[in-house]
């Protein structure tokens, strides 16, 4: 994850539910009440880039009476609803029927980030299974689109050019191949990472097909 990675930056903008542990007079605007004190115990949705450091940072307060309490952080945070119990249960039931994109456009990135911040062994296992079974499905769709597409490659003349292909091909998929609504539905629910996977799988299939046809011509 690079400093300049656009997707990483967008992932960091995802909000997670946080609870403030201390009163802060100047931060009322975080809870839609500028000019008011943000009370300890207020629940506020903060972007990860803010929440992460606030949760890690040590207030440095030393409580003589109770040393165990002496270094609490400014906030505590919970898992966002995208990784909540409902979603996890649904993923356990059938990973392929959950539109991850509706939960978060950067679903996996968000999940990995959250798991760096707190231990979630169950979530990790569920997500790994989710990705594996969905990846197989993605590969299948990408191949179908590429394979059936040769007849109309000529038509769009490769003019779509470069990276913009993803969306166009998805529509082609729906109209030409009779994969039907379900397939289209599934592809719409891919998160950003899965989209990349789909795109490379699709471009790879297409490129090798073109190469094979060229070989035959000569």
């Amino acid at each position: 994850m690079s400093y300049y990675d656009i997707d990483a930056i967008l992932t960091d903008a995802e909000k997670i539910p946080c609870t403030f542990q201390i009163d802060v007079p100047d931060l009322g605007y975080l809870d839609n009440q500028p000019g008011h004190t943000l009370k300890a115990g207020s629940r506020v949705a903060l972007p990860i880039w803010l929440a992460e450091m606030l949760a890690i940072a040590n207030t440095g307060a030393v409580d003589m009476d109770d040393p165990s309490q002496s270094s609490k952080s400014f906030i505590t945070f919970d898992l966002p609803s995208a990784l909540g119990n409902d979603v996890v249960q649904a993923l356990k039931a059938d990973p392929r029927s959950v539109p991850l994109r509706d939960q978060s456009a950067h679903f996996y990135a968000l999940a990995t980030h959250m798991m760096e911040l707190s231990e979630e062994p169950e979530l990790s296992a569920v997500l790994r299974k989710t990705f594996v079974s969905r990846a197989a499905e993605i590969a299948l769709h990408a191949r179908k689109v590429g394979g059936g597409g040769s007849s109309y490659h000529g038509r769009d003349g490769g003019g779509a050019g470069g990276k913009g292909k993803g969306k166009a091909t998805k529509e082609d998929n729906a109209s030409n191949l009779g994969v039907g609504g379900a397939g289209e539905e599934f592809l719409r629910g891919l998160d950003e990472w899965e989209r990349k996977l789909f795109r490379s799988a699709h471009d790879g299939t297409k490129a090798s097909k073109e190469w094979m046809e060229n070989v035959k011509k000569r």
């Binding site: 400093y3 300049y4 656009i6 930056i9 967008l10 839609n32 940072a57 207030t59 307060a61 913009g164």
Partner: protein
């Protein structure tokens, strides 16, 4: 309650205000509430009860909820995020969309404002700030600092995405006139129409134009080290040494060794890349 016309009228108004305010969330509701408020002492006197006070509380709570729903407080970093979304879109485009001068300026301004806030927060401490005793201030400072850092990252990422794109365009032999659009003026109209459409302004910032030019020079210098290899040439091996071309844009009088329309591919490759010629067949 005795039948006093004024009261029933303003109560109706009040009901309307509540309904409109809650349903459509527009400020007309509030305007009517204010009208109701000016009648309030009158109402209070007449009914002789605290009903009005209770009404007011109910109304205020509704209004508060309305405000929090309607006006999501803009947060520090929101503008930076917009910039990054622009960058994200840029990544998937083959051309370079216009430079977001306003947005970049707004983000920079936000950083300056935050910096001022930090300075004024720290001022009373005269350099002897102790975070462990002033936790609330420490927290505010941290939030301000993180917001500045976030904005910086957004700005850098946005510009980096664009310079990456510019470098790619230089390598592909794009012409600065095509990108700069208007900067060279209307006479070159033919060259700009294709890319710019409405383009009355350049899609590059002045700094980006500089960058583009200097990177071009650098690339030329680099390529100059190998006179017998064209580093930016096509990777496709040519089928024929000679090709037919069609002229798309007026490029002045150009005479190659062999002619004007049936030419050696190597001689005109650069002109094709720049869009002056089209290869036929």
């Amino acid at each position: 309650m005795p039948a006093i016309p004024g009261v029933s009228v303003c109560q109706n108004l009040y009901l309307i205000a509540c309904r409109m305010g809650v349903r459509s969330g527009n400020w007309l509701g509030v305007g009517i509430w204010q009208a109701y408020g000016s009648l309030l002492p009158h109402h209070h006197q007449l009914s002789g009860a605290l009903v009005a006070g209770e009404d007011k509380e109910v109304f205020l709570s509704i209004r508060k909820r309305q405000i929090s729903q309607l006006e999501k407080m803009p947060m520090y970093g929101d503008l930076g995020n917009k910039l990054v979304q622009h960058a994200k879109r840029t990544q998937n485009l083959s051309h370079l969309p216009p430079y977001q001068t306003e947005l970049v300026r707004a983000v920079a301004r936000e950083i300056r404002d935050l910096d001022k806030d930090v300075a004024s927060l720290l001022e009373p401490f005269q350099g002897s700030f102790d975070p462990s005793t002033e936790q609330a201030t420490a927290c505010t400072l941290l939030v301000n600092h993180l917001s500045m850092r976030r904005n910086k990252r957004c700005l850098l990422a946005y510009h980096r995405t664009r310079t990456d794109k510019l470098e790619e365009l230089v390598w592909n032999g794009a012409d600065i006139l095509d990108l700069a659009g208007q900067t060279t003026g209307a006479p070159k109209g033919g060259a700009t129409d294709g890319n710019e459409g409405s383009g009355t302004t350049s899609s590059l910032s002045p700094q980006e134009e500089d960058y583009f030019r200097q990177f071009g020079d650098l690339l030329a210098l680099y390529k100059g080290q190998w006179t017998d290899i064209d580093l930016t040439g096509s990777l496709e091996p040519p089928r024929d040494l000679f090709i037919d071309v069609r002229v798309l844009k007026d490029a002045g009088e150009i005479q190659t060794e062999y002619g004007q329309f049936y030419v050696r591919q190597g001689d005109v490759e650069r002109l094709i890349a720049q869009g002056y010629l089209q290869k036929l067949g």
